[in-house]
Every structure is written in structure tokens, then in C-alpha cells.
């Protein structure tokens, strides 16, 4: 496969290329595209929720549909929008930052993506096949075990598929970072985004299996008549809550840590200063991850675990504010005295700091277990987690899109539109969610379909809904920006910002298939910056030019995922009619058969030859 063959291909060939690709950059782009699609879906669901709540006793949608909307909004945003987009960044950026030509398991990488995508599609197909899941994104038993129809079955199978994909991604990134760092790239020279990828992958590895088990128990109860959550047969529904939150709390750090990493790249680049307190940033990341595993029961203060358990989990929760505070102050200190350039990427980073700090502060409030009895299940909680997830994760994703767009797609996003989108979204965000703190304190419960008039909730809800439309407008401007840039944007230079510090800016935009023609020699933290300061325009190669070994593409990941996708329908509908077991087995035969083919067929990859590389321009 020569490099020239990547140019001028028909639609069919391009489609086949993406279906079979094992290139981490293309997989990263597909994660971003699929994540953006689900982000829009989840956004539309959010707008429908807000329209329903625009006035008291509204009848825009029915109560049942409202329950489906809130469930699908939460699940879609967390599992199919935020996480995939972050995995997209990890795929697209991390191997470049450590000076690697690929990830450790390219095939597994592709399989992980297709499992996630088909899991997301599966779950959303429930809209067309008798109704979406309606037990909230947390799927608490016994509500989830007794929910009629197949909505919750789609929830179980969809999350099971995409969860397996995410776990593969996590293992892949861990092995990549441990074994494939380039010459001179020691651990303490790794960029912060790579560090956060590493730590988030550890969290994925140890948190997701708990969700897997929870989903299995739910699946067995719903589909095969087991009694895990059936109190009549001795079951215990609190087990679900524990398993869900043992996964669910680390999950919020799986989301926020990579976003922290993105900001830790952007702020030094546009402050023209090295990151303040690099070692403490790394340490704080680990500390947050460690404490993140110790605090799951703060979601369960009102369950009745007793004062001792509540106190321990309350103290643990509040302790997380310390490493997070370290990070906030390090970002501020990085900007202190720097020559700051404010563009769209930097605007999102600047908007993030106060927004996220508010979310962190309400987090400490919620962590006070006695006070939590007042806040629990009110809009105060909604306001809190939207401040951390939108103000932290979504801002991080949008900042990262502006920052790395040239590296992914070879063009710089339009600045004017970028700034308009930021201000619309930023104002809309605070308009929507700030007021919800007060709605919550006044007693408005979450997940309620309607509220009564003249209880002091009317104006607040109206303002909140208006804010949501501002956010929608911001998102639309962002999409127009993408279309405009793709059509009209000019080709970006290797280092379009001029102040890039890390290895990805030393190579062309977008990066070539093999990333580095010769692996670069890393001489310290911010390796590209060091070379620039020494008057070099590019990295010093650490090896002579030679043939590059590349993995072969394969259609098998798609086939395996489709097999499990088909089998999921078998699982869901065999409850009604046992002949669906045929579909289950057929799907499993496809999936396991393809895995067997992968295992039995030798695949040694291919080489890009030295002669072809010499023809390529730098």
C-alpha cells in the first residue's frame, strides 16, 4: 500500500478505507464524528426537556415520553457523546505526543470503535422499536427491572456493547503509553494530555467491569428470571446502586481528567510559558483518580448506609477538592506573567476555570452528607453536575476541537465564528444552569414531568429554557464553522499556532500515515519547544531512515461488532418468543467465527519502503 494511493479515491473506496482502517488517526476522527452526532441527538433531547419545562403544567410531551427523554439524554451524553469524543482526542493526539507510529493494538482499537458505535446505534434504535429506556440514566432497580416493554433491554445491551469497546480502548492506551514511548520520552517528559489519557485509561480498566457486572445482573433479572434485585426471592436492589456508582463515580473522572489534560496543553501554548507545576499536575491527576474510587457512596447518602459510612464518604469526597484546587491554581500560575494570546481555544479554557470551580464548590456542598439530604434529587444536583460536565468536559472538548482541528483535518477553524459560538454557548450555559441551583434549593425535584404554577418556580424555569436555546445557537454556529472551514479554510502549517510545544506540532498537518518518518529524539519536557529555543526548525531524528512496519487494515472488527449487534436483538426478543434464540446464536456465530478467523489467520502487517519515504516531502 503506497502513500500515493491515499489520494483521489471514489466514495466506495473511501468508505471501505474507513471501515477497514486500523490507523489511530482515522479511528480518532471517526470517534469525533460519531460522538458529535450523538452530542446533537442528546442536545435535541435536552431541548425537548427544557421546552416541556418552559411553563407550569405544560403538555408539550407526555409523562412517559419525558421519562424516555431524560434517560436517553443522560445516557447518550455520557456514554455516546462525551466519552467517545475524548477517546477521539486520545486516539488522534496521544500517539503523536509520545513519538509513536501507532498504538499497541491497532486491530483492537478499531474493534473498540465499532463496538461503541453499534452499541450507541442499538440503544437509539429503541425509539423505533416500542420505546426508549425510561428508568433514568442510572437505571436504578427495581424501577429498571419492572419497566415494561424492551426499552431497558436496549439500555442493557447497548451499554454492554459500547462498554466492552471502551474497555478495549483503555487497555490499548495503557500498553501504548508503557511500551511505545519514543527515544528519550521518559514518563516525566510526557505531555499532560498523555498523562491524563494514561490515568483515565486506568480508571476505565478498573471501573468498567463493575458496570459490566451490574448490567449482567440486570440483564439476567429482566431476561432470564434471576432474582438479584427481586426482594420477594431474597434479592437486594441496593446492590445495583453500589455496582453502578463504583463504576459511575470513576466515570466522571474518566470524563474530566482528559479534559484537564486538554486545558493543560492549551494554556501553556497560548501563554507562551511552560506548564506551571508539571510534577504536581501529574501527582494531582493520580490523586484525583485514586480518591475517585473511594467516594462512590456519596451518591447514596440518603439510602441509609448509616452515619459512619456517610461520614467517611463525605470526608473522602471533600478531599478531592484539594488536588483539583492544585490544578486550578497551576493553570492560573501558568498564565501569570505569560504573553497570553486569546483565541477560541483559549476562550474555552478561560471560560472553563470559573465555570468548573463553581461546579467543584457545589460538589463540596453536596459532599456534606447531612446537607445532602436537602439537596438530594433536586435541581441543585442537576445544576452541579452540568457545571462540571458541561463547564468542564464539554468546554474541554470544544477547546480541544479548536486546538487540534488543524492537526486532525489540516485546516484552522474560523476564529470569528469560533468566538461567536463561544459567547453564545457560554452565556447560554450559565443562563440555563445557574438558576437551577436556586430552583433546587427551593425544592424543585429532578426528573419531574411538570411543576405547578405560583410556587416560585415559573420564572427560573423560563430563564433556564431560554438559556438552552442560546446553547443550541452556539452549537449551530460551531457546525457552520466546521462546514465553512472544510469548504473554504486554508491549509494549516505544521505548527499553525506558532507556539506549539509538544511533538504533534513538529509533523505535518494532518499527520502522515506513519506519523514520524524517523522517530524524533526527545530531549526534555516540551520537546518541540526545546528544539525551537535551540534554533532548530524540526526535531532531531533518533534513527536512520528505514522501512516502516505498518499493521494491515481489516474488515473483521466491523463484522465482529455486527455479530454482537445481531445477537443483542436475539437477547432482547427471546423473552417474547424463543425462536429469537436463532438470531442470538446466529449473531454469536458471526462474532465468534470472525474472532476465530482473526486468531487463526497469520497477519504480519506490511512495510512502507525506504524508497517511498524518501520521495515524500517533510
Amino acid at each position: 500500500m503506497s502513500i500515493a494511493s491515499t489520494q483521489k479515491k471514489g466514495f466506495g473506496a473511501i468508505l471501505w478505507d474507513y471501515l477497514t482502517t486500523v490507523d489511530h488517526k482515522k479511528i480518532g476522527n471517526m470517534y469525533l464524528a460519531a460522538g458529535a452526532f450523538f452530542f446533537l441527538l442528546g442536545g435535541i433531547e435536552a431541548l425537548i426537556i427544557r421546552i416541556q419545562l418552559i411553563k407550569p403544567e405544560n403538555d408539550f410531551i407526555s409523562a412517559g415520553l419525558y421519562n424516555e427523554m431524560i434517560t436517553m439524554h443522560g445516557t447518550t451524553m455520557i456514554f455516546f457523546a462525551a466519552m467517545p469524543m475524548l477517546l477521539g482526542f486520545m486516539n488522534g493526539v496521544m500517539p503523536l505526543q509520545i513519538g509513536a507510529r501507532d498504538v499497541a493494538f491497532p486491530f483492537l482499537n478499531s474493534l473498540g470503535f465499532w463496538l461503541f458505535l453499534l452499541g450507541g446505534i442499538l440503544m437509539n434504535l429503541s425509539w423505533f422499536f416500542g420505546g426508549a429506556p425510561d428508568a433514568g440514566w442510572t437505571g436504578y432497580a427495581p424501577l429498571s427491572t419492572s419497566s415494561p416493554g424492551h426499552g431497558l433491554d436496549y439500555y442493557v445491551m447497548g451499554l454492554q456493547l459500547s462498554g466492552a469497546g471502551t474497555l478495549m480502548g483503555g487497555i490499548n492506551f495503557l500498553v501504548t503509553i508503557v511500551t511505545m514511548r519514543g527515544p528519550g520520552m521518559t514518563y516525566m517528559r510526557m505531555p499532560l494530555f498523555t498523562w491524563t489519557t494514561f490515568v483515565a485509561s486506568i480508571l476505565i480498566l478498573f471501573a468498567f467491569p463493575a458496570l459490566t457486572v451490574g448490567l449482567f445482573l440486570l440483564q439476567f433479572d429482566r431476561m432470564f428470571g434471576s432474582a438479584f434485585f427481586d426482594v420477594a426471592l431474597g434479592g437486594n436492589s441496593v446492590i445495583w446502586q453500589h455496582l453502578f456508582w463504583i463504576f459511575g463515580h470513576p466515570e466522571v473522572y474518566i470524563l474530566i481528567l482528559p479534559a484537564f489534560g486538554i486545558f493543560s496543553e492549551i494554556i501553556p501554548t497560548f501563554s507562551k510559558k511552560r506548564l506551571f507545576g508539571y510534577s504536581s499536575m501529574v501527582f494531582a491527576t493520580f490523586l484525583i483518580a485514586f480518591l475517585g474510587f473511594m467516594v462512590w457512596a456519596h451518591h447514596m447518602f440518603t439510602v441509609g448506609l448509616g452515619p459512619v459510612a456517610n461520614s467517611i464518604f463525605a470526608v473522602g469526597t471533600m478531599a478531592i477538592a484539594v488536588p483539583t484546587g492544585i490544578k486550578i491554581f497551576n493553570w492560573l500560575a501558568t498564565m501569570w506573567g505569560g504573553s497570553i494570546k486569546i483565541n477560541s481555544a483559549m476562550l474555552w479554557a478561560l471560560g472553563f476555570i470559573p465555570s468548573f470551580t463553581i461546579g467543584g464548590m457545589t460538589g463540596v456542598m453536596l459532599g456534606a452528607s447531612t446537607a445532602d439530604f436537602q439537596y438530594h434529587d433536586t435541581y441543585f444536583v442537576i445544576a452541579h453536575f452540568h457545571y462540571v460536565i458541561v463547564g468542564g468536559v464539554v468546554f474541554g472538548i470544544l477547546a480541544g476541537l479548536h486546538y487540534w482541528w488543524p492537526k486532525f483535518f489540516g485546516k484552522v477553524l474560523n476564529e470569528t465564528m469560533g468566538k461567536i459560538a463561544f459567547w453564545l454557548f457560554f452565556i447560554g450555559f450559565h443562563l440555563t444552569f445557574f438558576i437551577q441551583h436556586f430552583l433546587g434549593l427551593m425544592g424543585m425535584p429532578r426528573r419531574y414531568w411538570v411543576f405547578l404554577e405560583n410556587q416560585g418556580l415559573d420564572t427560573g424555569n423560563l430563564i433556564s429554557t431560554i438559556g438552552a436555546f442560546f446553547m443550541a445557537a452556539g452549537s449551530i454556529v460551531f457546525i457552520i464553522n466546521i462546514i465553512y472551514t472544510t469548504a473554504k479554510g486554508e491549509k494549516a502549517a505544521n505548527d499553525p499556532w506558532g507556539t506549539g510545544r509538544t511533538l504533534e506540532w513538529a509533523i505535518s498537518s494532518p499527520a502522515p500515515e506513519y506519523n514520524f518518518k524517523q522517530l524524533p529524539l526527545v530531549r526534555g519536557l516540551d520537546p518541540y519547544w526545546i528544539e525551537k529555543m535551540d534554533g532548530n526548525t524540526k526535531m532531531t531524528p533518533a534513527e536512520p531512515l528505514d522501512d516502516i512496519h505498518m499493521p494491515n487494515g481489516s474488515i473483521l472488527p466491523v463484522v465482529i461488532s455486527i455479530g454482537f449487534f445481531i445477537a443483542s436483538f436475539g437477547f432482547i426478543y427471546q423473552v417474547d418468543n424463543k425462536s429469537w434464540l436463532i438470531v442470538l446464536f446466529a449473531g454469536m456465530v458471526i462474532a465468534i467465527g470472525s474472532m476465530l478467523i482473526r486468531s487463526l489467520k497469520d497477519d504480519h502487517g506490511h512495510h512502507i519502503h525506504k524508497e517511498d519515504l524518501e520521495k515524500e516531502a517533510d
Binding site: V175, A210, V213
Partner: protein, 205 residues
Amino acid sequence: MSHDHSLSPEIHDPAKATHEGKHKYLGLWFFLGGETVLFASFFATYLALRNSTAGGPSSQELFGLELVFVMTILLLTSSLTSVYAIYHMKNHDFKKMQLWFGITALLGLGFLGFEIYEFTHYITDYSFTFRSSAFGSAFYTLVGFHGGHVVFGLSWLTALMVRNAKRGLSLYNAPKYNTFAIYWHFIDVVWVFIFTVVYLMGMVS
């Protein structure tokens, strides 16, 4: 980086001589980290529900240590024989490696046979099923998931042994055998915990 996968005598550990081999080795260890959480969650669920018999048979009535003792011996021995197989792999002795892996597979199969007998025994003689109580659900899920891992491991080993029977050992297939062996040890360790937590604790309490 060598482009062919033939074995040369100076290679000490063919499983970790290539980049691919190192990746697989580390990747499997990380995977087992995740598997640990998986089984820990099943164990926790089991511990929470093991006395929730809903009027059905309890663990004291069901379990017999004789059967479980034989199963434990079979699985522990299979772990030992897989160590012999890896020892021969490191000495580049493909035939002996296949032989010891073959014995490993037979012992694993024996374990599985006893487990199937055990389950049918509970179902037919005690009407103790997956659906009869929360204890039943938790028991069959925990022990069944372990059994499922044994089935998967045996299929994996069989595929490897049949595929490579005529090809001999190379740097390409050595990491595959090695990752299987580590996985097999893990299954063994999980069984030790099942033996203790499910059977021993189930007999005394």
C-alpha cells in the same frame, strides 16, 4: 527489528522477544486487572446474597466437599502442567510443549465435566436453580462465569494447538501460547477464591 519470526537458539524467552509479544504480555496483564474487578463484583454480590435462600436449599445442605476437592485438584494440577509447557517453550521444545498443554486441556476438561455434574446434581436432586432464590442466582452466576472462562480458555488452547500442530514454534505464535498460560493461571486463582468463599465458607457458616 527482525522481519521474520523464526527462532534462533540464543533467544531466551520467545514469548517476549518481539514488540508484538511484549504488547500482548502487558495487555493481557492489564486485561486481568479488569477481570479482577469483574470477579470482585461477582464475589461481592454473592456475599451479599448467599443467605437469601427464600426458603430453598441453603449452602450447607447443597455443598459436598469431596466433589469440590477433586475439582480443585484437577484445576490446580492443570495450572502446574501449563507451567511445564511454558518451560518447554523456553527451551524451544515444541513437541513437549504441545504434550503438556494437551494434558492441561484434558485436566481442564475434567474440571468442567465435574462442574456440569455438580450443577445438574443441584438442579435435579434439590430443585436448586438459577431462578429459585437470590442465592441461586448469585451462586450460578459467580461459579458459572468462572466455568465460562474455563470454556473460553479451553477453546482458545484447542484453537492454538490445532492451528500450530504442524508449524512448530515461532516468535509469532509463542506469545499466543504464553498469554494463554497466564490467563489459565488467573482462572485457577479465581477458583481458589471460589473454593474458599463459596464452598468453605458455605459449609461452616
